[in-house]
């Protein structure tokens, strides 16, 4: 629940504050950020809608292995570009600092290993904990 709250706060900040302020020369960032979100969410909701369809679960676990690094890094880069701009409100600077800290420090070290572990388990490339106990 905490992860979900943080994730959606970052996304709403990116949507309303970061991407609209990104320089036109870096317009590709919107494609990368929104594309990674869309692909991740399509795979997630496909699993929710087609619960009994096994490959949907595997897809949902495997897709973030690719999309998370793309989304996380491009969100952080776009936040950094906006952070460097002049005349930003203090509250926005604080939000961008938090966003950068989460995307640069916590995302790759705490969130991504979990996604990687789940994805590898879903693909059968890593044993699950239960199997280890046996």
């Amino acid at each position: 629940m905490v992860l979900g709250t943080v994730l959606h706060m970052i996304r709403l900040t990116a949507l309303t504050q970061v991407l609209p302020r990104c320089p036109a020369t870096h317009a590709w960032l919107a494609t990368a950020v929104l594309g990674s979100w869309a692909v991740t969410e399509v795979s997630r909701y496909t699993m929710y809608v087609f619960k009994s369809f096994g490959p949907a679960r595997v897809l949902r676990m495997v897709v973030p292995i690719v999309t998370f690094p793309i989304g996380c890094s491009t969100e952080a880069y776009s936040a950094w570009l906006v952070f460097q701009q002049d005349n930003l409100p203090v509250a926005l600077k604080a939000a961008l600092t938090g966003m950068l800290a989460i995307n640069v420090l916590l995302g790759p070290t705490m969130a991504y290993p979990v996604f990687l572990k789940k994805g590898l388990e879903a693909m059968g490339l890593r044993k699950t904990k239960e199997k280890k106990k046996e």
Partner: protein
């Protein structure tokens, strides 16, 4: 968190109602990403993305409320479960009357 089976049908009904909407919405965003020039993408996709994010936030809020409900009203919850079970039971009268002994 373990949700008693009595509460599962209404809860999953709400979740299931939102999921197809979100799937269609995110598919639409994916299509926009694929077809819209990068310069105009944020303007084109932002309203849909914000609406979809609100659905996601609602899911988080609902989970928080469910947790709050179960932690605050746990003593009453068991009574409600018994009531529901009793209502669907052929021995409803005995079950309900047992609650009030």
């Amino acid at each position: 968190m373990l949700i008693p089976s009595v509460f599962q049908p209404p809860l999953s009904t709400v979740v299931d109602a939102l999921n197809p909407i979100a799937l269609v919405g995110w598919s639409y965003v994916a299509m926009l990403v694929a077809t819209t020039p990068a310069e105009n993408l944020n303007e084109a996709a932002a309203p849909a993305c914000i609406a979809l994010e609100i659905i996601c936030v609602l899911e988080v809020v609902r989970m928080a409320l469910v947790r709050l409900y179960f932690s605050c009203f746990k003593p009453f919850m068991s009574v409600r479960i018994h009531f529901k079970l009793a209502a669907s039971s052929s021995h409803s009268f005995q079950c309900v009357s047992r609650l009030f002994r």
